[in-house]
Amino acid sequence: MTLTEIIGDLLVLAGALAFLVGAIGLLRLPDLYSRLNGVTISGAFGPALILIGLLLQQPSLGNALKVGLALVIQLATSAVGGSAMARAGYLTGAPQAEETRFDDLVVELDEQAGQEHPGYSRPDGDL
């Protein structure tokens, strides 16, 4: 085994551990929003480590392109999914943990009483 293969193995192992940490976070964190942050570890950090580890095990230009493409798609989709879930959770009134200190969305809702929730607003058609 060469040095790059060993480093690649370690990165893949670290990526698997990142998935484990994200899974434990789902059980341990207090509310929907912090759990979504825990899931981000398995959704973004874990796959990134595993993909880079795989590239180090079999380095070639073609694999680098594939890994780069997979990384971009994975990171973009996990971020969009996380935002969509957080927004859906807020609009349906998911409970917030006691540690939550203040909530500007509520402030905004009080100020424009009777108007739409800011999460709904689409001034120029689609956002």
């Binding site: 990142a18 940490v21 434990i24 976070g25 341990r28 964190l29 207090p30 509310d31 929003y33 912090s34 979504l36 942050n37 825990g38 981000t40 570890i41 973004a44 950090f45 990134a48 990171l75 973009a76 996990s78 971020a79 969009v80 996380g82 935002s83 957080a86 927004r87 807020y90 917030q96 943990a97 540690e99 939550t100 200190r101 203040f102 909530d103 500007d104 969305l105 509520v106 402030v107 905004e108 929730h117 800011p118 999460g119 607003s121 689409r122 001034p123 120029d124 956002l127």
Partner: protein, 133 residues
């Protein structure tokens, strides 16, 4: 547009993945440490952040960059005036979260605007509870 501003723009595009990797690493370690050690250091908040972004692309890219970093999450976005509402797991104060998002916005605007990024707004201070002064 000078040669210097074009070089700055290209460097800005190249820097974004570097910053992103750094944020991803530090954020993951921080939230991972929170998960694996007993006790809770969470002091969460939903913070309204006014933006200098103008186009759909800029607002949605910024919202995604914020969501991508463990420890912060975009809950809602509005385009006119451009604003995002960010859930932040570790909030020292209202201003610290606004500055964090604005630092990310600086890097993004450096990459999307060849003419250079506009200066930050100054009148965003809030009190301890996050209320407008």
């Amino acid at each position: 547009m000078t040669v210097k501003s074009v070089l700055n723009w290209i460097l800005g595009i190249l820097w974004i993945p570097v910053y992103l990797a750094y944020d991803l690493l530090t954020g993951s370690l921080r939230v991972g440490w929170e998960i694996l050690t007993p006790g809770s250091r969470i002091s969460a908040a939903f913070v309204e952040v006014p933006l200098r972004c103008r186009t759909d692309f800029e607002v949605s890219t910024l919202a995604n960059l914020v969501s991508l970093t463990p420890g912060s999450l975009t809950v809602a976005a509005r385009q006119d005036p451009a604003t995002v509402w960010v859930y932040s797991m570790y909030t020292h104060s209202h201003g610290s979260t606004v500055r964090y998002v604005h630092a990310m916005e600086d890097r993004l605007l450096r990459a999307t605007r060849p003419a250079g990024k506009p200066p930050r707004a100054e009148d965003l201070e809030r009190d301890e509870g996050g209320q407008r002064l």
